[in-house]
Symmetry: C2
Subunit: 192 residues, 2 copies
């Protein structure tokens, strides 16, 4: 399986649909690295063009000489080994292509898509047949900005909740876990 994951901090929408850059959070790095490692993701790209954030994330990932803070918890540190900070989704695509020898399929997730090309169970089924590298991207803030969404090859069907009043506000950490589970562990349902 050649699955790559990106957590996008730019280009992102804010509440007023404006283009913004969000801040990286410590928690997203750790939780998503653990989910990524567990479900066999080859590399987890933390996408931000901000130089200061690259330094911050570098510290968290323990890339700095003498930083042994992860030593007490090897499992957690092991997960962080697949995380990498990168300037843009485009740069990550180039890196994945270099690793895989072919361009990955860019697959976008979002909570508010009104139309989509596939869903996570179906894409998971397809992945196992095609062995195509996939770069699965998640937005922060109010979601991935249109300027990046329009470059995606596939948008996946949003997750739906089961609340009676339509409440549907998963954290990005929870959404990542569910998509990875559906893609890699979902039951193989025959297509109608």
């Amino acid at each position: 399986m050649s699955l790559y994951l990106g957590l996008v901090h730019h280009p992102i929408r804010n509440k007023r649909n404006e283009l913004v850059t969000t801040s990286v959070t410590n928690l997203d790095i750790h939780d998503i690295a653990r989910s990524s490692r567990t479900f066999g993701v080859k590399k987890y790209f933390i996408v931000t063009p901000l130089e200061a954030q690259h330094h911050l994330v570098g510290r968290i990932l323990g890339h700095w000489e003498g930083d042994k803070s992860g030593a007490y918890n090897p499992d957690r540190q092991d997960a962080l080994a697949i995380a990498k900070i990168i300037n843009s989704v485009e740069d990550a695509m180039v890196e994945i292509e270099a690793m895989e020898g072919k361009k990955p399929l860019l697959v976008a997730t979002g909570a508010n898509f009104e139309s989509w090309e596939s869903d996570a169970y179906e894409l998971g089924r397809q992945m196992k047949i095609d062995n195509m590298p996939i770069f699965l991207i998640f937005g922060t803030g109010w979601g991935i900005h249109a300027s990046l969404l329009e470059k995606a090859d596939i948008r996946l069907k949003p997750l739906h909740g089961a609340s009676e009043d339509g409440y549907n506000h998963l954290s990005v950490r929870s959404a990542v876990a569910i998509y990875l589970d559906r893609l890699t562990q979902g039951p193989l349902i025959p297509k109608n």
Copy 2:
């Protein structure tokens, strides 16, 4: 659907299999409340016998007069409305029975069970038929202690990862999201 969720901080195992009480974390409260609300959980019990933790959680849940910190983010505050701190799993069972008029099925999750009575897809299918109240419990630390596990009616099959080297260390937040998705949104696969 009558689904209840419990995050257990006592009785818990530590690394050496001893009985301990873990600390409540702010993050578990928020992320799991959002997942619970999204997937239609009726009440999310944060289980700890520690009095000091009851005060702390009360502040986070905004139960204190004059605490308006949730006002800027109504969606998030809305999720916290279903969270409740309680002394024990037994107390939560009593409360659920009072609400539902019958005793709930106590369903335990864990990453290291060697045997189990059902899995999340199958239980989800059953829930939709029986309309039985279910109390789904998750451990913190190194998992739910045997003294509580032995009271469970059903243990669910652990989640399996897809990593080549067997790495399997999801955060409890990610595990909750996946179990709730499988239980409530999983495809209805005919039983063989």
